[in-house]
Subunit: 218 residues, 2 copies
DNA sequence: CGAGAACCGTAACGTACGGTACGGTAGTGG
DNA sequence: CCACTACCGTACCGTACGTTACGGTTCTCG
């Protein structure tokens, strides 16, 4: 048994419940927000009564699924020891590549779509959950790397948040919005690798030390 | 009278019909995709019968509204004569500022939300309409400016599309996705001006001529 | 003025779907 | 064996909302 109103996501979910949430996710990728409770029950081979007992209502089911997925977002951590120019560059490139893979995935697209559709609602704001565990979590993870790079004299910036946002822009560009709007873009692994390398090179050109010409305005 | 299936958007719309679509837009900003035909009729002071006669069905109404709005997206055109470093910079900054204003507006957010929610549907793909008249239209308008800048020896790049996408990333960064997900961000005019100036400066640092260190990878 | 079109306001229809109830089965514990 | 729990499958209920129908008003045109 499980209270219908959990906050943190993955805690206390049984395997069976995760199976159900997986079914929800698959259905969401296929059908978008039009999925029905009946379809979920059939796909997960469970009864609607169970769905309502576990998750409260339709919104609770979607929220649980989004929280559960959000709790799984993990991007490679970087060891901040022995930071030199090439290891910093490699870390940034790794981040960029991971991030591009995430936002290009079917599940991320489906999740962001449903979160955007339900953004700004009073209770159970899916947009806030996805925002917190997507874009904002990325910022929290990358910022220490940027600060370490500055401490090591490899980067120059005043505001780590501004620097991160620039990096974000150079990496993501128009990819996410185009995919969300249904553009058939789907970059290949090779393209993602290339884009990550380009973005990293551009970021270092703008914020790398010994490049006074390109210092950010802030 | 009007066929329910128009393609290009603003043609053949009477003032009264535009009033109705304006009501739809206002309602969409307030309520999102949950707006009902009854609410539209009440807000627009028209009968549901009229709505159905003019627009066919609910989807047709939303499509007409999105097309109509899309047909209104116009960003300042730049005169390509007398292109020098400062006029190019001013043009880019103007573009960046206009674009940030657009994507920060309530109507753009509402429109993109509904388009994303309905993206990838078979018929009447709102995502495609918004994509075509938003991001892609921006690209078509800015590319000639970039090419003119290259012809004038002010910019260096191989692929105008790649250069534009970088500019797009530097300008938009995480603003659009955050707003779509419900983040209270709402940059002020002053912030937009600052961001536009920063993005332009960064873009010129990367792609401006006489800056060999920062050439794009492609 | 009369006929008809265009439209408003509202009542009515049909249905899809969220949510509930209930009977049936398997497992568990005493 | 009995009581109990947890669950499946399905039938069922209530309602919101898309869609249609219709009576009444205004306007145009002859």
């Amino acid at each position: 048994m499980q209270s219908a109103l959990e906050i943190s996501g993955d805690e206390e979910l049984t395997e069976r419940q995760k199976d159900v949430l997986n079914a929800v996710l698959r259905l969401l990728v296929e059908e978008g927000d039009r999925l029905t409770m009946t379809a979920v029950a059939r796909r997960a081979s469970c009864s609607k009564e169970t769905l309502y007992k576990w998750f409260g209502d339709r919104d609770g089911l979607l929220t649980a699924m989004v929280q559960w997925q959000a709790s799984k977002v993990r991007v490679a951590q970087v060891d901040r020891s022995r930071l030199d120019k090439s290891s910093l560059s490699a870390s940034l490139e790794r981040y960029a590549s991971d991030w591009l893979h995430v936002i290009s995935s079917d599940t991320s697209i489906a999740l962001n779509r449903v979160a955007i559709a339900h953004a700004g609602e009073e209770k159970r704001n899916l947009g806030a959950i996805v925002l917190e565990n997507g874009r904002l979590a990325m910022g929290r993870r990358l910022k220490p790397v940027l600060l370490a790079g500055r401490d090591a004299g490899l980067l120059e910036f005043d505001d780590a948040e501004q620097a991160f946002r620039t990096f974000f822009g150079l990496v993501a560009r128009d990819v996410q919005i185009r995919l969300l709007l249904g553009d058939r873009l789907k970059p290949t692994d090779a393209e993602i690798g290339q884009d990550a390398a380009d973005a990293t090179r551009q970021f270092l050109a703008l914020y790398g030390a010994r490049n006074g010409a390109a210092k950010s305005g802030l």
